[in-house]
Symmetry: C2
Subunit: 109 residues, 2 copies
C-alpha cells in the first residue's frame, strides 16, 4: 500500500494559473488509470479541447464551471463529472478561491 | 458530459455502518473504471480482504486507518492510497464523524 498526501506531490504547471499533481500513476505501480489533483487559481481558464480518453472528475473545493457540447455545468464540492472520450470540454474558476478537483484518466495505450 | 452530486446517488449498504455510492460507472457510460464514494460510520470496520484489482483512494473527510501487509496507514482528508491488485487490506473509522473517501476501481474483465 502506498500512502501520500496530495500536497506532498509537486504541482506541475499546465497553463496560466493551473497546476496538476500526478498523485497515483504508473510510477506508483498503478496498472490501469491515473489519479491527478488539478488546481485553478481564481479566474483561470482551460480552453475547450478534446482527447480520445475519458475523464472522471470529483470537485474538492471552490467554484467553477465546466463547459461542453450541451452548455455549462456547475463545479462545486461534491459534484462529479463524467466526460466521455472525444467530447470537447473546458473549465473556468468562477470563485474567489482555488478550484480544486480530482481527475482520473486511463493510462495511454 | 454527465454531472451529478455524489449525494444524489443512492448509498448501498456494504457492511455494518458502511455504504457505497457508485457515482460514475458503466451505467453512466464509463468505459474503463468506476468512481465510488464510500462512507464509514464512527467505529465501522471493513475487515481484511483481497481481490485481483487495484484501488486508488482519496480521503475526503474524517479520520481512519487502512491496514495492509506493512501495517497501518493514516486516513485523513487529502491522503491518497494506492492498494495494488491482490494485496490484503482493510479499513477502520477511528474518528467521531463519518469517514468518507473516493475509491476508483477498474471494471471487472
Amino acid at each position: 500500500m502506498l500512502s501520500r498526501n496530495y500536497q506532498d506531490v509537486a504541482p506541475e504547471p499546465v497553463g496560466e494559473g493551473i497546476t496538476i499533481r500526478w498523485v497515483i500513476s504508473k510510477p506508483e505501480g498503478a496498472p490501469n488509470f491515473a489519479m491527478r489533483v488539478i488546481e485553478f487559481a481564481p479566474g483561470a481558464v482551460f480552453e475547450e479541447h478534446q482527447h480520445p480518453y475519458e475523464h472522471e472528475i470529483f470537485v474538492l473545493e471552490g467554484e467553477g464551471v465546466a463547459h461542453g457540447p450541451d452548455g455549462e455545468v456547475e463545479m462545486r464540492p461534491g459534484v462529479a463529472l463524467y466526460i466521455p472520450p472525444d467530447e470537447p470540454h473546458g473549465y473556468r474558476n468562477t470563485g474567489k478561491g482555488v478550484l480544486r478537483f480530482i481527475c482520473v484518466i486511463p493510462h495511454p495505450e
